[in-house]
């Protein structure tokens, strides 16, 4: 597995800070003096090529509260329904703002600054397509099958573009310390990682899937920028295959155990059923066995899927680098996270969805509080990218095309 506690860089040391560079190092300013939560914890000195570098580790803290979020969530739901979906963009923004606003690094939180009208426009476009699609699939009007096919093909063709637009939207609307993130991944890279890679994964019988997932994560991280600091993904595809193999091994082992258990239940039910009316006993036993096996399989596939998600997330987080001066580290256990996710599903199901806010806060808190930001510069030394600022027209055009599909 990935090394969660390695010293910072040895490869990329290009200074991303541009004209702010001469200001560093600057121990005088205490970060987060005006804010409440989260201050730097540990400072370590590392020798890299004869130069001493101070590696400062900042923990991430999450101050969200399940009961508080429950009220926001339920009011969001009520207003969305009463306005027949019209409030949904505002609901989305409040949800995001709550989670961003309670995520702290070095005394400062994040902010989500999406324009609700832009979100609404995106939703309306998607809703229009969906309505046409639904009508075309349900009403056999003349040539309706061509309409269905055209929408499906169109979606497949523009999917990578949509992903890229969504990433741009998400990055542009995320603000930390007064600077917004940006996403600079190219269209070609989007079609490679979300078009070609998915096709390869589909036609290679799953063999290409870890590679596709790797390409997608790399596209996401490499395209990211915070001010002038560009993201860099240090992971390699081997990790992804290792995780997939682990998940596969667990699935096979669990499958064997369940098959044995199911056989056992069937066998026992048959063995004790000597009574003349054994048929009904047998079918009861078989029913219980079948239901148990089904639930078991459901649980198993859930655990395996969540493990894969968690392990990949951890691997990705451990390989994120920003501008050669910041690295992330994730020390959460994929198994613990898989357990949290699966038990969250169960809780949501049992509570008819009412525990959804609790589940979201629980998972977010666990993940974020096991993430560390390690930097060899002070976090207040990043600059906004003023050189590459788009013209107002270009900005407006790209904002018009940036659609958030909820990725």
């Amino acid at each position: 597995m990935s090394e969660p506690d390695h010293p910072l860089p040895n490869d990329r040391q290009a200074d991303p800070r541009g004209r702010d560079a001469e200001r560093l190092p600057e121990p005088g300013l205490v970060p987060g003096s005006a804010a409440s939560a989260g201050t730097a914890q540990s400072v370590r000195t590392v020798e890299v090529g004869g130069t001493a570098l101070q590696v400062q580790t900042y923990p991430v803290t999450f101050t969200g509260d399940a009961r508080e979020y429950f009220r926001i969530w339920i009011v969001n739901a009520a207003l969305s329904v009463v306005t027949l979906g019209g409030y949904t963009p505002w609901a989305r923004i409040r949800t995001r703002q709550y989670f961003y606003g309670h995520t702290w690094v070095d005394g400062h939180n994040f902010d989500y600054v999406a324009n609700p009208w832009a979100l609404l426009r995106g939703y309306l476009i998607v809703a229009a397509f969906m309505l046409v699609y639904l009508i075309a699939t349900r009403f056999p009007f003349k040539n309706s099958e061509y309409v269905v096919a055209a929408i499906a093909v169109l979606f497949v063709l523009v999917y990578p573009w949509l992903v890229r637009q969504s990433m741009r939207f998400l990055a542009r609307t995320t603000v930390h310390r007064g600077i917004s993130f940006r996403f600079l991944g190219s269209l070609g890279a989007a079609y490679l990682s979300y078009g070609l890679a998915n096709i390869v994964a589909l036609f290679s019988g799953g063999l290409g899937l870890p590679w596709a997932l790797f390409m997608q994560r790399r596209f996401q991280v490499d395209g990211l920028a915070y001010g002038q600091a560009r993201g860099h993904f240090r992971g390699d595809v081997g990790h992804f295959y290792l995780i997939a193999l682990t998940a596969m091994g667990i699935s096979i082992a669990a499958g064997v155990v369940f098959a044995a258990l199911a056989l056992g239940v069937f066998g026992l039910a048959g063995l004790f059923s000597w009574h003349p009316r054994a048929r009904s006993d047998l079918s009861l036993g078989a029913m219980v066995g079948l239901v148990a096996a089904y639930l078991g399989l459901l649980l198993m596939s859930g655990v395996v899927r969540e493990y894969m998600r968690a392990a990949m997330m951890r691997s990705v987080l451990n390989n994120v680098e920003l501008g050669g001066v910041v690295r992330l580290g994730a020390s959460f256990s994929p198994w613990m996270l898989a357990w949290i996710s699966v038990s969250n599903y169960a809780a949501q199901l049992v509570s008819l969805g009412l525990l959804t806010p609790w589940a979201a806060v629980r998972r977010t808190k666990y993940v974020l509080e096991q993430v560390q930001v390690r930097a060899i510069v002070s976090l207040d030394s990043f600059s906004a990218d003023t050189a590459g600022q788009e013209s107002a027209l270009g900005e407006a055009a790209s904002e018009l095309l940036d659609i958030n599909l909820g990725f």
């Binding site: 702010d20 300013l29 970060p31 987060g32 003096s33 005006a34 804010a35 409440s36 101050t63 509260d65 508080e68 429950f70 009220r71 926001i72 009011v75 739901a77 009520a78 207003l79 969305s80 329904v81 009463v82 027949l84 979906g85 949904t88 505002w90 609901a91 989305r92 409040r94 703002q97 709550y98 606003g101 005394g107 400062h108 939180n109 902010d111 998607v126 809703a127 969906m130 309505l131 639904l134 349900r138 009403f139 056999p140 009007f141 003349k142 603000v175 930390h176 310390r177 007064g178 600077i179 001010g227 949501q348 969805g353 976090l379 207040d380 030394s381 990043f382 600059s383 906004a384 003023t386």
Partner: protein, 377 residues
């Protein structure tokens, strides 16, 4: 914390952090609002290099409030002022009448009582919409749908059903067929609505060479534009043609009320509503969403069946002055027993009832009998 004087001209001082939008540097700052003027004072670090520190207060953008999240005021030129002084910012908002709507939302979110009120409103709204709004909308949409759409529905459905894996050609003799067709023609005239009524007699067993497929058995059903299908098996189960005519009148009831179309629209409405609540397309199709959708759809379907039964009863009471023939056939169908009679049918458990597309047979029998008794009075 800010001192709150009622005097609106009082200077408002907010303490917080300032980011200039050019770098990630945080500067301790004070935002002072004095009348119509807002000015920024940097408390630590180097002073602002040649930047305007004073603006009319109305050009400041106050981000909407959210419980316990640091307040943000966006300044002209890309600067941001962030503060924990929620009370101060709220005072500024109320003084300058900003964020009125989302401020109200925040107040609801902050209180359990108001949240509960929101939940009750939500419940009432959903209940009202699902029991009255959506069926009414679906009914009007179905009524407004042009005949050509109905006709293409029938064509497409018959093409699928006649592919051999559901049913085959009827084994009834020519004379018997003609007799049933003639009797159905009377019902068609009675039902009205100017639909091209058509009775298709079919064998309810798959016509594939190996018998594979889905046997529909003893059954009858109507397509939206007046095509009614009845199987040989149902004919065989009947003791007289009055029973069959009861069934066919029931089916024409589905046609004249446009139940099939209404159910399509209701399904569409439920999908859209689910998407609006959950906010995305994917989760609307998941298991958790599918179960309530199926329950609701079954509920609409049971209402439609009751309505069709009432049509059948109206026809039978007019023609035969009794609904007994239909009740007898229903009982035989229910118990799958050629000798069963009405009294043999037991009442269903209510929970089981919810899972079915038709009302419980006992309930239907009682309803049909009640209609007959009401007509006799």
């Amino acid at each position: 914390m800010t001192q709150h004087q009622p005097d609106p001209t009082e200077t408002l001082i907010l303490r917080g952090v300032y980011f200039d939008g050019q770098s990630s540097r945080d500067r301790e700052a004070e935002l002072q609002i004095r009348g119509e003027q807002a000015s920024l004072k940097i408390m630590s670090g180097e002073p602002l290099p040649q930047r305007q520190e004073s603006w009319p207060q109305r050009v400041l953008v106050i981000e909407p409030p959210l419980t316990r999240v640091r307040r943000v005021i966006r300044l002209p030129g890309g600067g941001r002022f962030e503060t924990q002084d929620d009370a101060g910012v709220s005072l500024l908002e109320s003084r300058t009448h900003r964020n009125w709507g989302l401020g109200r939302v925040r107040r609801i979110e902050a209180s359990w009582g108001l949240t509960l009120g929101a939940v009750i409103t939500l419940g009432l709204f959903v209940w009202g919409f699902l029991s009255f709004g959506l069926p009414a909308l679906a009914r009007s949409a179905a009524a407004a749908t042009p005949r050509s759409v109905l006709a293409s529905f029938d064509q497409a459905a018959i093409k699928t059903l006649d592919n051999g894996s559901f049913m085959g050609p009827t084994h009834l003799g020519k004379a018997r067929q003609a007799q049933l067709q003639a009797e159905f023609a009377t019902i068609g005239k009675w039902a009205g609505g100017n639909y091209p009524y058509r009775l298709l007699l079919r064998n309810g067993k798959p016509a594939t060479s190996d018998g594979a497929g889905f046997a529909i058995g003893a059954n009858a059903f109507a397509l939206p534009n007046g095509t009614v299908v009845m199987t040989d098996q149902l004919v065989a189960l009947s003791r007289n043609d009055r029973e069959l005519m009861g069934v066919l009148a029931h089916e024409t009831g589905h046609v004249t009320h446009r139940h099939a179309l209404a159910s399509v629209y209701q399904g569409l409405g439920l999908t859209l509503l689910g998407t609006a609540i959950t906010g995305d397309l994917v989760s609307a199709g998941t298991f958790a969403a599918a179960v309530p959708t199926a329950l609701l759809t079954n509920g609409y379907s049971r209402q439609a069946e009751t309505q069709a039964d009432e049509s059948a009863a109206a026809y039978m009471l007019g023609q035969y002055h009794t609904t007994k023939p239909l009740r007898d056939l229903l009982a035989r169908l229910e118990l799958d027993d050629k000798n069963a009679s009405e009294g043999d049918v037991k009442a269903d458990v209510r929970v089981k009832d919810m899972l079915q597309t038709h009302p419980g047979t006992r309930q239907r029998l009682d309803h049909l009998r009640a209609l007959e008794q009401a007509a006799r009075k």
